[in-house]
């Protein structure tokens, strides 16, 4: 097996690690490499922080294990190798009337990564966590043995592996129950003047997909103003052609994400958004607006950026959203990408992120002030019993995740210790947040 030693970065470009990776193309190659050097799996490297990194360690890049193993177009049951991307799955299944739910904001995320982070999408309230559609998976455990896990077989380990940050072993393949879907969606947009109005609109929404974009620079009475975007599957064809993919050829200068360009962008976006309040569009274009710009993470400059996302119990959501928005707008440091969603109930995974209530996600360019602001956002999160999204985190401290994950973490730690007593699967994120101790 060939190994590659290099510096690998999280998607936010801020955290990096010197790692030695294998990149097997076939299962026997993975087994050999894993036997030689057990270590965690890496996928599309779309986690913002250090969730997939292991400083000075070995890992296994799964992107070349990306084959469909079976797909039943009658039942919508799909089995694939873990390195396949969501985009590849959609390309094949949508024309046949099926789609995965709970898709994250990039189509370059892999199946294994989506399961290990137990991601969610704009359809969380109707579809639940990504893991809800996982019928079974094959787990290559640190002892070198492969085990099939499902709700019927090895159920506890299954729930520790879903959203388990790769700590129980490497997911080599998984089987999903897809839902009936179409290639196009009917998109509706509606503006709101402030945070309360935005939350009320999300609360009342009954479309399958819903997301609110917030202008994080607005203050005072306009605090939290933005646009609600909802969509549902439709058989209707889009009028507009989809945009061609562009790429960011170089790392942008730091000022590109400073206050005034962002203000201008938000104003422009607001206008353009509302110029077509209702239209049909291709599902993938609506689902993955950022994938139209390859390497958009370079726009934040060479020091990279952080993404903060937390979710709150319904009873705490009003106060938490207001406190977060006030803090963010006062700092005037946010990027245009501020996103609010209404989540449905928690899933089955022991370390799952979503809980019934509201969630807010925001990017910050890495600057001196960013660390202070992030720590203040974490204070607010703790005070309102929120959970920090581990797939995105790059700045939390152990005490910031203690309360949010208290429900399942003890059982998870037991199961992980049993599966990986030598701690060979540990990642920088798990180490930083002391999740296994």
């Amino acid at each position: 097996m060939r190994w590659k030693s290099d510096t690998f970065k999280g998607w936010g470009q801020h955290l990096s690690a010197q790692m030695t990776l294998s990149r097997p193309s076939r299962l026997h190659g993975l087994l050999d490499a894993f036997k030689e050097q057990p270590g965690p799996a890496l996928g599309g490297l779309r986690s913002y922080g250090d969730a997939a990194l292991k400083s000075g360690g070995h890992g296994h890049l799964m992107t070349r294990m990306d084959r469909f193993l079976s797909f039943d177009t009658e039942t919508g049951i799909l089995t694939a190798e873990a390195g396949i991307t969501m985009r590849d799955i959609l390309d094949v299944t949508l024309p046949k009337g099926w789609g995965p739910s709970a898709l994250p904001g990039t189509g370059f995320a892999t199946l294994g990564g989506c399961i290990a982070m137990d991601v969610h999408g704009k359809d969380h309230r109707t579809a639940g966590n990504f893991s809800a559609q996982v019928l079974s998976l094959d787990l290559l455990k640190p002892d070198g043995k492969t085990q099939t896990l499902s709700r019927d077989k090895n159920k506890r380990l299954f729930f520790a592996t879903l959203g388990g940050l790769g700590q129980t072993g490497i997911i080599s393949q998984a089987t999903l129950q897809l839902h009936e879907a179409t290639q196009n969606v009917r998109v509706k947009k509606q503006s709101f003047e402030n945070l309360e109005e935005g939350m009320a609109l999300l609360e009342a929404n009954d479309a399958r997909f819903a997301v609110a974009w917030i202008d994080a620079l607005a203050t005072g009475l306009q605090l939290g103003r933005g646009v609600l975007e909802t969509s549902d599957y439709t058989e209707g064809d889009p009028k507009a052609r989809s945009q061609s993919v562009k790429s960011v050829p170089f790392t942008a200068p730091k000022f590109a994400m400073s206050k005034w360009p962002v203000k201008l962008f938000n104003r422009f976006r607001y206008r353009r958004y509302l110029s077509r309040p209702s239209e049909n569009a291709r599902f993938v274009d609506v689902q993955y607006p950022l994938d139209q710009v390859l390497g958009w993470n370079r726009l934040y400059g060479k020091d990279g950026f952080h993404q903060f996302q937390a979710c709150f119990p319904l009873t705490k959501s009003d106060a938490a959203m207001r406190a977060l928005c006030e803090k963010i707008s006062a700092s005037q440091a946010a990027s245009p990408l501020v996103v609010m969603k209404r989540l449905g109930p928690s899933g089955e995974s022991l370390l799952g992120f979503p809980q019934e209530g509201f969630t807010l996600a925001v990017d910050f360019q890495h600057r001196k002030e960013a660390a202070k602001l992030l720590s203040e956002l974490h204070d607010i999160t703790r005070a309102h019993e929120g959970r920090v999204y581990l797939a995105k985190d790059s700045a939390a401290k152990p005490q910031d995740v203690e309360i949010g994950y208290s429900a399942g973490i003890a059982e998870w730690q037991d199961l992980v210790l049993k599966a990986d007593p030598k701690k060979s699967m540990i990642t920088d994120l798990v180490q930083r947040l002391e999740l296994r101790s």
């Binding site: 060939r2 190994w3 193309s25 469909f68 797909f71």
Partner: protein, 244 residues
């Protein structure tokens, strides 16, 4: 509809090109040394859109295998096109230490491939249409100390393909020689000193388009044409002193 025969589908480029054919809804015959090992690959290609996938065992060192593949190809209805991706690359330093293994490089990259294409040529002529895309290498453009055994086998294969193109063009068959630069495969993963590394799927896309345009020789990515032209034109007294 044309059937694509993909020889060497377990190579990263072979698989990527097979996926491209599947995307286009083609019928496929895919080969590897051991057909049993590519069953899951054939399933993948079907799911990706191939209208039919047949697997076949082909060891280019076994005349029997070449014969049965030729028979299988003869039974194909409609026209046949060939994507030839089989080959192997032995480390030059290792070959320097094992002179008796020199033949292995020539068998895998010249003798076997030429025997196979010689065997397929008559039936393609019978069918009267089709394309042959075959992988040679920029390494064959000029021998360099760092991999001249492999390079000389590929130089031979390049000459073979140019002759085959000459022979087949009167029969409606187009032969395209492909010279890839560095490609991001299992063989090159982690190798030091590589630059401008291309992904197999990008190469597959390039080959598909180039074949539609009936290009004769394709450097992939295209800028390798410039690089190899420079290398080709360095005068020998200077060239022999270079470390390449």
């Amino acid at each position: 509809m044309t059937t694509w025969l993909i020889i060497g589908v377990t190579s990263a480029m072979g698989e990527a090109f097979a996926r491209k054919c599947a995307d286009e809804g083609a019928k496929l015959i895919v080969t590897a040394r051991n057909a049993a090992a590519i069953q899951h690959l054939s399933e993948d290609l079907k799911i990706r859109g191939a209208s039919e996938v047949t697997t076949a065992s082909l060891d280019l060192g076994k005349p029997k295998d070449i014969k049965s593949l030729t028979e299988l190809s003869r039974s194909v209805e409609g026209s046949l096109s060939v994507g030839f991706f089989a080959g192997s690359m032995q480390d030059q330093a290792w070959l320097n230490d094992h002179p008796d293994k020199t033949a292995l490089t020539f068998k895998d990259n010249l003798v076997g491939p030429a025997e196979c294409l010689q065997s397929l040529a008559p039936l393609m002529i019978e069918k009267g249409e089709g394309t042959i895309i075959a992988l040679s290498s920029v390494a064959g453009d000029r021998g360099r100390a760092s991999n001249y055994v492999y390079g000389s086998a590929k130089a031979g294969f390049t000459a073979y393909l140019s002759g085959l193109r000459n022979r087949m063009q009167n029969h409606g068959i187009h032969v395209m020689t492909v010279k890839p630069g560095f490609v991001d495969t299992e063989m090159t993963w982690g190798l030091p000193g590589l630059f401008l590394v291309a992904s197999p799927s990008d190469i597959a896309e390039t080959l598909w388009k180039a074949a539609q345009k009936k290009r004769n020789t394709v450097y992939a990515p295209w800028f390798w044409w410039i690089i190899m032209n420079i290398i080709h034109h360095v005068p020998e007294p200077i060239f022999k002193k270079l470390k390449l």
